[in-house]
Amino acid sequence: MTEAAAWSGLAIETRGLTKRFGRQAAVKDVDLEVPRGAVFGFLGPNGSGKTTTIRMLLGLAAPTSGEARVLGHEMPREGGRVLPRVGALVEGPGFYPYLSGTGNLHRLDSADRYAIGRTRGARVEHALDRVGLGSAATKKVKAYSLGMKQRLGIANALLTPRELLVLDEPTNGLDPQGTREVRSLIRSLAAEGTTVFVSSHLLAEIEQICTHAAIMSAGSLVAQGTLDELREVGRPRVRLLTPDVALAAPVLRTFGMAVESHDSAPEASADGREIIAILGDDSIEPDAVVAALVAAKVRVRGFAVERTSLEDRFVALTGEGFNVDQ
């Protein structure tokens, strides 16, 4: 396999990406694969290494080992060629407090040698309008609220048309309207063909806008894929409520299901007990299972097939604990 063939046409690809701060590995052995055109959610609890990974993708920090490719180019070596095509928000906005919103965007746009100076004013104005800051454009940034600064940060990422947007917690500090606007902005950018890589710990948000996701835990990548793939890693489960537990279990087993729990189920009541069984095979018809249970004289008081939510997966992969893992 040649080097060119080894690297596919992904928007972001990393191999064994590792970053150490002293003895602590903030990111270890991460192999990310972000397809072009995807809206890719980058999930993980606080301190799991999301921002550190993003810094390496953007060439701000050098990996301790491993490599990263962005839009087919090696980072940080080829950053000068790739970064003009990438818009980014990294660990919150950073602006000159003594300049206006417009002044700040002019300043940052002038650093891009590929941006055309003649259209700068119009592009800045357009970007500010896109994030709803048109009326606060001439206000000094020191008079901006947190959410306004966040919006200005997003506007900065949109100064020129980008092939890739890297947004580190873009809705941090935004009001509900702002959050919704950012979601619809991401959707419309994705519809134009922009690949969006968005980090967050808000699962609901990721579930609403992303096509793909990856989950980080204590510096390691513990899962990645399309949202459906991620949810389905845990098989669908059958939840059965019945007083006839002893009768039901063998019936479920004849369908190849692993009966997970019954005795200790907290829902146990006079009505019956809950049995949870893993549906071994997608081809099993839930109707047939219920028919077989009824035929075996099992009183079925409740029956449901559930898929795991992203939240279940997230908690299963990153742990229940509230404390930050080091």
Binding site: L60, F95, I116
Partner: protein, 300 residues
């Protein structure tokens, strides 16, 4: 430029939602960032405050001399040229520069040069400049040129404010140089500009040192303080007789030698030696700054 115009026309017409020509096929040289740096630096209130403070120094000197004219200071006391002011207002500028060179100019230049990279880091704008992207080398170059431009502006402000207040408060006439020769008023303005150029060059080494310190930290005040302290230490060492062997290599060694430009004929030796010394400091500290900054992880 012509190719930009064509793309602009091609893309503005194809959509109702203003699509603007926004990117060029090949990168520009990157002067836009330098323009932005200079304009941001000189629009900043802090820069104005420092320039105003510098402008006030010759004004205060002139006022003090004017108000105490009845009992003139004995010659030999106070800064050089002070005793000449009452006879000729054109000496106010030179006196102001003599007063500002040891402390006030290094202080303000230290603030600007120490702030270059560390200030961007602490504001959180460094990461956004670098991913815009401004290459690290280009950013250092732009920042250094900005600090040098401030050194020039600061020196000129003292010279101009001194000249104006001198004309306003004292008689003006042909200037007697240190060599005893006399030059006309017009020629004396040329000499003032030469002195300003000499002092600006004198501050180039200090600016490079400040730039280097600024790449070492995310705390701008730290880099500023280190730069200013070093300027003071260098001048103290320059006055210790035990260190005569070291003194020609101190970046402050020629700071007050601009008096050589006030002789007839002009003694250019110290101008040349100073330029070489400052160039050497610039090369060494710019290389150190690049060595540090090019491989630095930007975690601010």
């Amino acid at each position: 430029m012509t190719s930009d115009t064509e793309t602009a026309h091609a893309s503005t017409v194809d959509s109702s939602t203003t699509v603007l020509a926004s990117v060029r096929a090949r990168p520009a040289v990157g002067w836009a960032l330098l323009g932005s740096e200079i304009s941001v630096l000189f629009r900043r209130k802090r820069t104005w405050a420092m320039l105003l403070a510098l402008a006030a120094v010759p004004i205060l000197i002139a006022l003090a001399v004017r108000l105490t004219e009845s009992n003139p200071t004995s010659p030999g006391r106070g800064p050089a040229f002070l005793s000449q002011i009452t006879n000729n207002g054109l000496f106010v500028a030179a006196t102001g520069l003599v007063v500002c060179v040891p402390l006030f100019l290094p202080l303000t230049v230290g603030v600007v040069a120490g702030d270059t990279i560390a200030g961007e880091a602490s504001a959180g704008t460094l990461r956004y400049l670098l991913i815009a992207p401004a290459s690290r080398l280009r950013l250092l170059a732009v920042k250094y040129i900005g600090a040098a431009a401030f050194s020039l502006a600061a020196t000129l402000v003292v010279a101009i404010s001194g000249t104006l207040i001198g004309i306003a408060l004292f008689p003006i006439g042909p200037v007697t140089l240190l060599s005893g020769d006399t030059i006309g008023v017009g020629e004396s303005f040329v000499r003032s500009l030469l002195v300003a150029a000499f002092i600006t060059v004198s501050l180039l080494g200090l600016s490079a040192i400040g730039l280097f310190f600024s790449t070492l930290t995310d705390v701008p005040v730290g880099a500023m303080a280190a730069t200013i302290v070093l300027a003071v230490v260098s001048q103290v060492l320059d006055n210790l007789p035990q260190l005569v062997w070291l003194q020609p290599y101190l970046f402050s060694h020629y700071w007050l030698s601009f008096a050589d430009l006030l002789r007839q004929p002009i003694a250019w030796d110290s101008f040349g030696a100073n330029a070489i010394l400052q160039g050497a400091y610039l090369l060494i500290f710019a290389a150190l700054a690049y060595g540090r900054f090019s491989s630095k992880d930007i975690l601010s």
